[in-house]
Symmetry: C2
Subunit: 332 residues, 2 copies
């Protein structure tokens, strides 16, 4: 651990992304639902990789991307997640530490290899993800570092992990540790299909344990089985302290009790790859929140971080986000 106080600790899947360009015909031929995250097993991962074009590899994982964004903004983050002691696991560990994050979860020494996500980016900049969870699903309550969680202002949970049963127990335990220490718990719903798979338990989790909820439009509609965004918005109000609802280029709506803000998206010259947009929006929001900024400012910082990450390939920031925010919003 560093001596510095931790702003946020992310708990999520420890994944290496494999990115490649593809066209719609490829997605159709492979039966891949565009824009979604599909879970795949080892055999399907091998089959799909064989059909994939030449790729580039980068560390990924939703909560890990968010923590990398937080670090680029100047925050101190930590990450808890499971890799295997293999080459991809070594890459994941190197990159997250090189970003200045605390990452101490021991690698699995047996079982499945480090998780990977095969990401197909279509010419419209949409990303279609196929995740082989591998060693990620071995994360359990025993992997939680109670000292880090109790010391972090916010514990940030990635909804994707809800697909892995031992991780559910880890989530609930992490929330308890955080709340007993007087800290806040945040959750991102991650994916509409993930919400569909686990709607009841997500509703229970939100009700019982979550202070700050992150969701995009389709996810929040899926959670409440709402016909449209406004209907979902009415439902979420009052169910958690803060709800951060993102809508792509339509901007975001942030509500907290009676307070509600509409924050526009930041202009982007050319959208290249939307992978990581939600992850980086959350990074910006959490950075502002842990720095005591207004909810509107938190939303603006989120929008700036998301705009940066969609302007290039990959789900982690390339630019110095702290400098970008200072340029756009000033240091106040």
């Amino acid at each position: 651990m560093t001596g510095q106080a931790i702003d946020a600790v992310g708990i999520g899947n420890a994944i290496v992304d494999v990115l490649s360009q593809a066209d719609d015909a490829f997605l159709d031929a492979q039966g891949l639902p565009k824009g979604a995250m599909t879970l795949i097993d080892a055999a399907r991962a091998e089959e799909l990789y064989a059909a994939m074009g030449a790729g580039i590899e980068m560390s990924g994982g939703s909560a890990a991307n968010t923590m990398a964004g937080l670090a680029s903004l100047g925050g101190q983050g930590a990450f808890i997640g499971k890799v295997r002691n293999d080459q991809l696991g070594g890459i994941f560990r190197h990159d997250i530490r090189a970003n200045g994050l605390v990452f101490e979860t021991p690698a699995a020494t047996q079982g499945l290899p480090t998780a990977r996500c095969l990401i197909f980016v279509t010419p419209d900049a949409q990303r279609t993800m196929n995740t082989f969870l591998g060693a990620s699903i071995d994360l359990g309550p025993e992997d939680l570092d109670a000292e880090i969680i109790a010391g972090a202002k916010i514990t940030y949970l990635e909804g994707y992990l809800w697909d892995a049963p031992p991780a559910k127990a880890a989530f609930v335990k992490a929330a308890q540790i955080a709340h007993e220490a007087g800290r806040r718990v945040a959750l991102t719903l991650s994916d509409p299909f993930c919400v569909e798979r686990h709607r009841d338990s997500f509703l229970e989790l939100v009700e019982a344990h979550v202070d700050i909820l992150f969701a995009n439009e389709t996810e929040i509609c899926a959670l409440y089985q709402a016909a449209g965004f406004d209907a979902a918005l009415q439902q979420v109000r009052g169910h958690c302290e803060v709800a951060v609802l993102t809508r792509g280029d339509k901007g975001a709506v942030i509500c907290a009790g009676e307070e509600i803000h509409v924050v526009d998206a930041q202009a982007v010259t050319r959208v290249v790859d939307t992978t990581g947009a939600g992850d980086l929006y959350a990074a910006g929001f959490l950075y502002g929140y842990t720095r005591g900024r207004s909810l509107f400012d938190c939303g603006q910082i989120g929008a700036i971080a998301a705009a940066e990450v969609i302007s290039h390939f990959g789900a982690r920031p390339e630019a110095d986000l702290a400098a970008l925010v200072e340029k756009r919003l000033g240091r106040t």
Copy 2:
């Protein structure tokens, strides 16, 4: 093997690149000679990786990059090089096959892991490379596929491999197989330090076995211990059938017997990363050459391919090079 005739087979190091941005102060602190390729051992690779920022991984290797470029131009290429049967080796094999290349060299099942090259890209777009050769150095004469070499119009040898003793024997054997089949042998000098290390044996190789020599300005000057480009140019004339001498943004000079051409560099809006510039120039030249284009056209195709690869991160083309060439030069 595919049923298609092979235009060129590259023989070189099978390497996965790890790219990261760095500043000059970092290079100084680590004692890295800017712009060069330095060979490092496993311990130094680990130490340098620990100091490196978060990276992205892409398949690389000089001759392999050239063959990937040839494929993107519409040529049929093959590659011979050694990986280990590990995750990085799997990535290398996947990517080169996904590019449409024939790659059948069996992976090593023991010994050092797959080679990697830690590449630091400075804000001036220069790349400084640090190569841990790993399993690459196990390539020997027994790995040569005589059928592929005898069937390929050109056998293209990467000078970097000259650092690995068993590969020297493989080079000479490959050149003999090619020449016995009435084919052409090409060599790229790869790096001035590599030339310094092996000047005498390179001179002998060029004299005895090489028909087409690729070198940049510093490499050809190093080979002939020439004070300047023109002096080196006078020396190389007559020592091989064709010499392709690249000079970065000053363009290239191509000489073959009495024939000599000066080919300008293609304009690039913004140079991002010069990694692979020489490799892709060679790709363009070889594509044109195997298609019977004029030497001047071969140089132009090389310049187009090089301009594409320096306009983004990484040493393999992102754009469809065949389409780029058609746009610039027409189909003739």
